[in-house]
């Protein structure tokens, strides 16, 4: 059962490389942005279109966002995406937001793994 997840993240939330994602038994679509505030609802939906079963949006902890409110805006975009998923009959929990410490790959990968687990659950239900 091939599983794909999407990770849309602020560039400053992690330094994960290819080797970090090798532990994930599926495909990980990774998109890095200069700030999570740049991530739009449409970007999230397009990642689902590409085949992701679940999507993680990751931004910096609120007090460390270098654009001040970028990650807080991103969290709201995730809420907007959840509403649309619900409207079209998909589980809103397929998309989630995580506030993460800057440039700390450990917590980032934990969130990636959690997202993969959600994807696995969703795939097995469908």
């Amino acid at each position: 059962m091939a599983i794909t997840i999407g990770v849309l993240c602020c560039h400053y939330t992690n330094q994960a490389g290819e080797e970090d994602f090798q532990g994930i038994p599926g495909t990980v679509i990774v998109r890095r942005y200069p700030c999570s505030g740049h991530i739009e609802v449409a970007d999230i939906l397009r990642t689902f279109e590409e085949g992701a079963e679940a999507v993680l949006v990751a931004g910096c902890e609120a007090e460390s966002c270098h654009n001040l409110s970028g990650s807080q805006r991103a969290e709201k975009k995730v809420q907007g995406a959840r509403k649309i998923l619900e409207e079209i009959g998909l589980e809103p929990e397929r998309v989630r937001f995580a506030f993460l410490p800057r440039l700390d790959t450990g917590p980032f990968m934990q969130e990636v793994k959690k997202t993969f687990e959600i994807a696995l659950t969703m795939k097995s239900k469908s």
Partner: protein, 224 residues
């Protein structure tokens, strides 16, 4: 500006159910400013429609474009070329845009992507409030610039009503009673005499109750 709100995706999906190629058409006028039908919202609507149709096993092809305005024939001209490429158009403009497309291009099947709600102001980030109802007979000169037609739940011309309590509306207590505000405003200016005369019963014909309204400025018209 004219304020609008995205239609539930399900409603749009129902409207375009028979089609496989749809143009999602935004407007950079009022609906872009109130974040309902500009470039971003076009992208979101198109992606949501494609995703829903893909999951339903009936993939949808979408085109995405945003015009400067949809309420002017000259800006709608590109539709003539695009019409052949798509089976239907989802207009993210206000109802004016949808109507004008329907008037000018009878061959195009056009469906609304937003619900047009009111004439309003952007009072805070992400917040719009109704300020005018386009009633066609403005009395703001007599009411301190505050409109009792748009901002009173009962459209009272001689308010406040008996339900106004502590300066709040009885219908929605979070909304200030506009007649209370009008009184306070004129009182502070020493202009309460403006309220000494009763407003007579309003003629609602200029508000549209006499059928669709139009406006003609002869000096701007050109003989064809």
């Amino acid at each position: 500006m004219i304020v609008a709100e995205r239609k539930p995706i399900r409603r749009v999906l129902e409207a375009i159910e028979p089609y496989q190629r749809v143009l999602v058409l935004g407007c950079r006028g009022c609906v872009a400013i109130c974040s309902a039908g500009g470039d971003r919202e076009v992208e979101t609507m198109a992606a949501a429609l494609r995703l829903a149709r893909k999951r339903a096993g009936r993939p949808l092809e979408t085109g995405e474009a945003t015009l400067i305005r949809q309420c002017d024939p000259e800006y709608l001209a590109p539709l003539r070329e695009w019409a052949d490429k798509y089976e239907a158009v989802v207009s993210m403009a206000c109802g004016v845009g949808v109507n004008l497309i329907a008037d000018l291009f009878p061959e195009i099947r056009v469906y609304p992507g937003v619900d047009t709600t009111f004439y309003g102001a952007n009072t805070a980030l992400g917040e719009w409030q109704e300020k005018c109802r386009g009633c066609g007979d403005c009395i703001l000169d007599l009411t301190g610039g505050l409109c009792p037609i748009a901002r009173c739940a009962k459209n009272l011309l001689n308010g406040p009503c008996g339900g106004s309590q502590g300066g709040r509306c009885e219908i929605r207590p979070e909304v200030p009673c506009v007649w209370h505000q009008i009184y306070e405003r004129l009182s502070a200016r020493g202009e309460l005499d403006r309220l000494m005369n009763f407003f007579p019963a309003k003629d609602w014909r200029p508000a549209g109750h006499g059928g669709p309204r139009d406006r003609i400025r002869e000096d701007l018209k050109m003989d064809k």
